[in-house]
Symmetry: C2
Subunit: 238 residues, 2 copies
């Protein structure tokens, strides 16, 4: 069911290709030129991934950039046995791994589909040639990598300096600003959110309850209403 839109993005349809806003999530604004879009479309391959299936494994050779077009993929490491320690949720459309192919050519994490997902792969050797011809594209990739660095820097800072409550407040506020509205709809299981915050599901449950009884939020299943933004911000702010 995802394939029609996926293939729309993958191959440039012959006439009047409706602009797919998912390009923007990957390459930023302003929009790619039509020439750039078509050149990329010639390179990339997309594939569907079923729930629980592996997208790539740690140690595997990484010869392409990987993005999630639709669905959700979890990044983490598979510890001994089959347990999978989830560390990060990537919700399409977004880059899943732009760094491994450039640096060393080996994945350092495992990726596993949390929902049925459409994954896009962009071979590095083709991309490299394309970048040589398109300085504009080159700069976009640079920016994408830089944003990844900034995002990870923020994550590291939060882990080092904030306790679980602060991290939760930070996360709630960052999700609110994405879809501007009074409340946040969870797109993931609570245990996945907990993993992303580096806490246990039990602690997350307790934190949500404590924030709720403090009157800062209102939790109803997978929908959280933020009642007191100011208080949340002062909580989140170091």
């Amino acid at each position: 069911m995802d394939t029609p839109t996926a293939s729309l993005l993958a191959r440039s349809s012959t006439r009047s290709p409706a602009w797919d806003p998912r390009w923007d999530a990957l390459f930023g604004l302003p929009r790619l030129s039509e020439a750039e879009r078509q050149a990329l479309a010639l390179l990339l391959r997309s594939r569907a991934v079923a729930v629980g299936e592996s997208v790539f494994r740690r140690g595997q050779a990484s010869l392409q950039l990987v993005a999630v077009l639709e669905g959700a993929v979890g990044l983490g490491v598979a510890t001994q046995g089959q347990a999978f320690h989830l560390e990060r949720n990537i919700h399409g459309p977004a880059w899943l791994d732009i760094s491994s192919a450039w640096a060393g050519g080996m994945f350092v994490q495992d990726a596993q589909a949390l929902q049925t997902a459409t994954v896009l792969e962009l071979p590095l050797d083709g991309l490299r040639q394309l970048l040589g011809r398109c300085p504009d594209l080159c700069e976009r990739m640079m920016c994408a990598l830089a944003h990844a660095v900034q995002s990870l820097t923020g994550t590291t800072h939060d882990l080092m300096a904030k306790d679980a409550q602060k991290r939760l407040a930070t996360w709630l506020l960052s999700r609110r600003s994405e879809a501007s509205g009074g409340d946040v709809a969870l797109k993931e299981r609570k245990r996945e959110l907990a993993a992303q915050l580096a806490i246990t599901p039990e602690t997350l449950s307790r934190l949500l309850r404590s924030l709720m009884s403090a009157g800062l939020i209102e939790v109803k299943g997978y929908s959280i209403k933020l009642l007191n933004l100011g208080a949340l911000q002062s909580l989140a702010h170091d």
Copy 2:
């Protein structure tokens, strides 16, 4: 006292410029071509920074890439007051910030000299034009950014999945492999190492003692001898 070598790197001396190995730390191997080196030398500016002095501040406009040539600079955030929460030590030669200029143009961290340092700045507008002409340099920058992503990914993983003892063991082993030898010489104060491991100096002291009484290491002031690599590796390994 650092200035002669710094200026050697900054301006291309007219004849037989001895290759400065510090370029390799920034741009990787294989070596830059002479043309690339000279083009970069025309762009960059270097400056000396005294101990405790700020290199850049959070929120400031970031229009250039920043590297540490010599000395050490700490990355972190200045909390209210004058306290400085250290998060990362950058020991020259190494990049200090390659992402801020590309992404948003604003520093997200503070940087403060921990030792007398020589700092190198590479304005982005000039670099951008240079990258348009040199695909090779462009790829090097891409790799540098990608390595930053990988390094931060590793840090994040360690913070999420390992306890303090595991992080310390990981750090000891990673430092050993840099300068191949039986023992590790600390280039920083122990409190700075503690900050980098996201623990307090007290906990670091206790951990070192416990590893020492377990016979895994031998601590003598600022020099740590690794006595049992296998045991350390099994500790560090998730």
